[in-house]
């Protein structure tokens, strides 16, 4: 084919483009690109433009208003204070649990299914359940009283507080993190560990020098995805948290500005700050990921 066209003085434009992979098939992407451009890129650029046109304060007025008001600027700390511990706990717990669940044992499918069930709960049932279960007269505090760990009249305050939201992020985020970690771990071929074992490596050495380095890129991806989920926590921070105080997260601030005060420029500015922070964290995690080996893990299939 190439020798034939090379002999011709100047092949048709269509052929030259086709050699570089451009042909009519690419038109198939058009509807998708148009949809995302119209529904994601355009609103985003529009919102970015709007955020520079606040009612007062000049071009950067909305951003200055956000950062100079300690109540709204404090949402950044509050959000990170919830998102980082919850995603570290979710990823941290999935590693030993999925490491234990690598082999085949009786009831493995059932255990997997049980661990995944909380995905179906939905935020409202989780929130209602947390309010009732961890509440001052709920089963959790009743059990602690029965065991004599807390006094009869002094239940632990776990709801309408930081802890309630953290619990809800763990209940909804852990199954997801576990599912991802479990599949990354089962993609690492057991022969690699066995080879190390024949050379006399103990289980800790095998984990430390073989499995963990191979798992790390996957773990960073999992961390990013759980972090996205926790960072944008909204309904549960409203329902089980203390939305005007300790769990006044950035998404609540943005929502209140845009759709309760109808201050769209301010709401859009908050959303832009939120996106910027999010992308910075993902960029950081991906930068760290690039430092590690991301080649074949000899996957099982």
């Amino acid at each position: 084919m190439t020798s034939l066209t090379a002999a011709a003085p100047r092949p048709a434009l269509r052929h030259r483009l086709a050699e570089r992979g451009i042909d009519r098939t690419l038109l198939l992407m058009l509807p998708g690109i148009v949809a995302i451009a119209a529904l994601f890129c355009y609103p985003f650029v529009y919102g970015l433009g709007l955020s520079f046109q606040p009612a007062k304060g000049g071009v950067l007025g909305a951003y200055r208003a956000f950062f100079s008001d300690s109540f709204s600027a404090g949402t950044i700390g509050t959000t990170f204070g919830l998102a980082i511990p919850s995603s570290l706990i979710n990823v941290g717990l999935s590693v030993p649990i999925s490491y234990r669940m690598r082999g085949d044992f009786r009831g493995k499918r059932l255990l997997l299914a049980l661990l995944v069930v909380p995905i179906t709960l939905g935020t409202v049932l989780t929130a209602e359940g947390i309010l009732e279960f961890f509440g001052p007269v709920g089963w959790f505090n009743l059990t602690l009283q029965k065991l004599g760990l807390v006094g009869a009249g002094h239940p632990l305050k776990l709801i309408n507080d930081y802890w309630g939201v953290l619990f809800s992020l763990i209940i909804s985020g852990f199954p997801f993190a576990f599912l991802l970690t479990h599949s990354y771990l089962s993609g690492i071929h057991p022969a690699l560990e066995k080879a190390a074992a024949t050379l006399g490596a103990g289980w800790w050495q095998r984990f430390r020098f073989i499995t963990f380095p191979l798992l790390l890129p996957g773990l960073l991806t999992t961390f990013c995805l759980t972090f996205v989920l926790s960072f944008s926590v909204f309904p549960s921070a409203m329902m089980v948290g203390d939305p005007d105080g300790k769990t006044h997260v950035i998404s609540i601030e943005a929502y209140e500005q845009a759709l309760q005060n109808f201050d769209y420029p301010q709401g859009c500015a908050d959303a832009m700050v939120m996106t910027g922070l999010m992308l910075a964290v993902i960029g950081l995690a991906m930068g760290v990921r690039a430092l590690f080996y991301t080649g074949s893990t000899g996957g099982k299939g």
Partner: protein, 275 residues
């Protein structure tokens, strides 16, 4: 084998204890809601003072669940249909061609997955209000397409890469026009993947709170959103009927997820998209 199981190391005991602790708490959270949804009153103590099924009929009537369910399914099926229609061809082109700018297109499709729904939902709602589309069914469907189309593209691309392109070439060699290559060779092979992607989009849209919340009006709320609104107008509703509604929601979600798991293995999906 049994002897080994009995002499687990302390590390193993610790891990299983953690799993058990997590399970007990999750079961407690679910159990409290389910028990309360069947209870009459429950102010303190281990169990409600009596049991009844009337919370469910009360929830159904108070929240007009018949209408809410109809709207929810309309929105969900429209989103599934449209995102497959738009996403599958794009996935096909991305899987089969290597062209300049491919990375930019991939980035375009990954951004809506990485940016939190609230962050792009607020500008999107602002734009939809500007065009008078917010509050309507159209607005909700359009908003839900933003994460669904990239999701379909990213699930379908590795699936299409697995199909041998020589099948298409062979059909063309035998003189099949593009239409029959697509209809009789590609479509049947893609059907399982489309089913899987469609069901996953269905589950996600059914449970999508933020985007629907930001763009819906009184007549275009899905079940999650009207459940959330019910919690915040709780003064006039009984907690039990809200719990009953939450159980109805979770029940539907569980059925959808079980159906999805019959067709897709979630671990496979992740492992496959890595190579």
């Amino acid at each position: 084998m049994r002897a080994k199981a009995l002499t687990l190391r302390p590390g193993a005991w610790l891990v299983w204890a953690l799993v058990a602790f997590f399970m007990v708490n999750v079961l407690g959270v679910i159990g409290a809601v389910v028990l309360d949804s069947f209870g009459t009153t429950w102010f303190r103590g281990w169990t409600p003072s009596g049991y009844t099924g009337s919370n469910y009929s009360a929830a159904w009537n108070e929240f007009d669940l018949g209408q809410v369910m109809t709207v929810t399914f309309e929105i969900t099926f429209l989103v599934v249909g449209l995102s497959l229609l738009v996403g599958v061809p794009a996935a096909y082109a991305l899987a089969r061609r290597d062209f300049p700018g491919k990375r930019a297109v991939m980035l375009l499709f990954v951004l809506p997955i990485l940016v939190p729904p609230i962050a792009y939902g607020i500008p999107l709602a602002t734009v939809l209000y500007k065009f008078h589309m917010a509050g309507s069914l159209t607005g909700v469907v359009l908003a839900n397409l933003v994460p669904s189309v990239p999701f379909v593209v990213y699930t379908m691309t590795p699936f299409i890469e697995q199909i041998d392109p020589r099948l298409e070439q062979a059909a063309r060699m035998c003189g099949a026009p593009t239409r029959s290559v697509l209809g009789r060779i590609i479509a049947p092979l893609l059907l399982p993947g489309m089913l899987a992607a469609g069901i996953l989009v269905l589950v996600r849209t059914f449970g999508m709170f933020e985007l629907t919340f930001l763009t819906s009006g009184p007549t275009s709320q899905t079940l999650v959103v009207s459940l959330f609104s019910a919690v915040f107008s709780a003064g006039i509703r009984s907690a039990q009927s809200i719990d009953a509604m939450a159980v109805i929601y979770t029940g539907s979600m569980l059925v959808l997820l079980l159906v999805a798991l019959r067709f897709v293995n979630p671990t496979q999906l992740v492992a496959r998209s890595r190579d």
